[in-house]
Amino acid sequence: MMAKELFPEAQELRKGRIRIETTKDKVTEIVKKLKENGYEHFVMLSCVDWIKDGKFELVYHMWSYEYREHVMISIKVDRDGDSMVTLRDLFPQIETYEREIHEMFGVNFVGNPRLGEFILEGWPHMPPMRKDFDTEKFVNEIYYKIPEVKEE
């Protein structure tokens, strides 16, 4: 069944692009249902920082080769200290996306054993992809301040 039939609340952005807004606790169920109904390609998991609302938006992208349809399941979590359940049992590659989002945004995924250092190494500051992290200021304060090697 197509996503629109399964979830009548789904909104069609354009042909072949469906967006479902839902809440945190329903995601596992929806992803599972879609997986069983032909949406077998998990495209990616991405995270958008809506700093004004104080929320992170997690977007689960799924694609059906059969219906040629792309579904975005979007949920909102709090920016600080909120966590999400891992979906790595449904699709193994979600694990990697969760690792990245944990490192770059600081969202915690309960049940994922590989969270931790992934891309960065020894990063002491706040997760860099958050909107309140000013990369230009950071660069000016660190890299351009490192002294030149003085020759006598």
Binding site: R14, F42, V43, S46, C47, R68, Q93, E95, E121, M129
Partner: protein, 379 residues
Amino acid sequence: MKPIVKEYELFIGPNHPGATGNMSYHIWVEGDKVKKAETRVGYLHRGFEKLMEKRIWMQNVPLVCRICVPEPDVNEAAYSMAVEDLMGWEIPERAKYIRTIILEMARLSAHLLTVGGIAASLGIYTAAQWGVGDRDYLLDVFEQITGARVYHIYIWPGGVRWDVPKNTKELLTKVLDYLEKRMPLYEDLIIKNKVFIRRAADVGVIPKDKAIKWGVTGPNLRSAGYQLDFRKLEPYAAYDKIDFEVPYYPKLGEYEVLSEGSDIYTRTAIRMLEMQQSINIIRQALKDMPEGDVLLKHPQWFAWKVPAGYSYVRVESSKGEFGYFVVSDGGKKPVRVHVRGPSYTHGINVMETIAKGLNVADFAPTAISLDVCPPDIER
């Protein structure tokens, strides 16, 4: 006599000729068999997605092509298509054909590099020399069309940057003729070579029933036995007007079917067939290309606002599905640009899984045959 060391750890990369670019694998080996593998990435992390959030829409165009170095054009195309999707633009017909030509040339050059690389990782260095050498003729064409050898910055939101020069057809036809003439030589050297077959057949297999579930895309998926290609499923550029076939296992054309599904041999064979298909596509596009404009009129760059919305656009690259998830809030700058690189799944999850049970000597060829490109993993 008992061996003194039975189990050991091995680090492949980042400074290792068998590593695919600047990334590394940490493997645990027992005797000669890999027990466990872990991919270590992050050596190329530049924080592109962060940088894109603080630049205006047009300034991001030179940035995106740096995400995949061997095939930069797919990024430009995907980003442009995402912006066009949000803006509701329909690009001129000629621009569509030019995009097709450019994207196929990029695919051709990336495949030449990969096929040469796979062969080189199995000791056939001549193929690598040939692959890189022949790719250079394509780069010469790129340079004349776009103005740069590697980072073309040619495909723009609204079309292509400028029209192709007059001699393109003549030049490109000559290069394609040359490449077509070379293909049998590559076949003799790689795919029909008994040494290669012995090393490549049934090594590093992606099981057919797992391929889609693991998120495998592109030639790797087709080599597992699915005829799935986003050029056909969601046609972009001018692909819907061009007649071409998508090669997939077990229809390997003149190549023998020697193994069951996606191993190094089939992945190489699919890439060889795709190259021939690309030559065919470019020929058609050159023939059918209409006259006319190539670029829509842009709004003033500094004040350009893109309507709010979500857009996901995908392009079939030489490595698999390249997707751009672009979120706009109606402002001058994007809120979020998230790139889905094909190597993300191939390089980490798939590689870590299929590496189990490989011989150490087969590890590097397997990694290279998955066509992992590290910059699109970490961006």
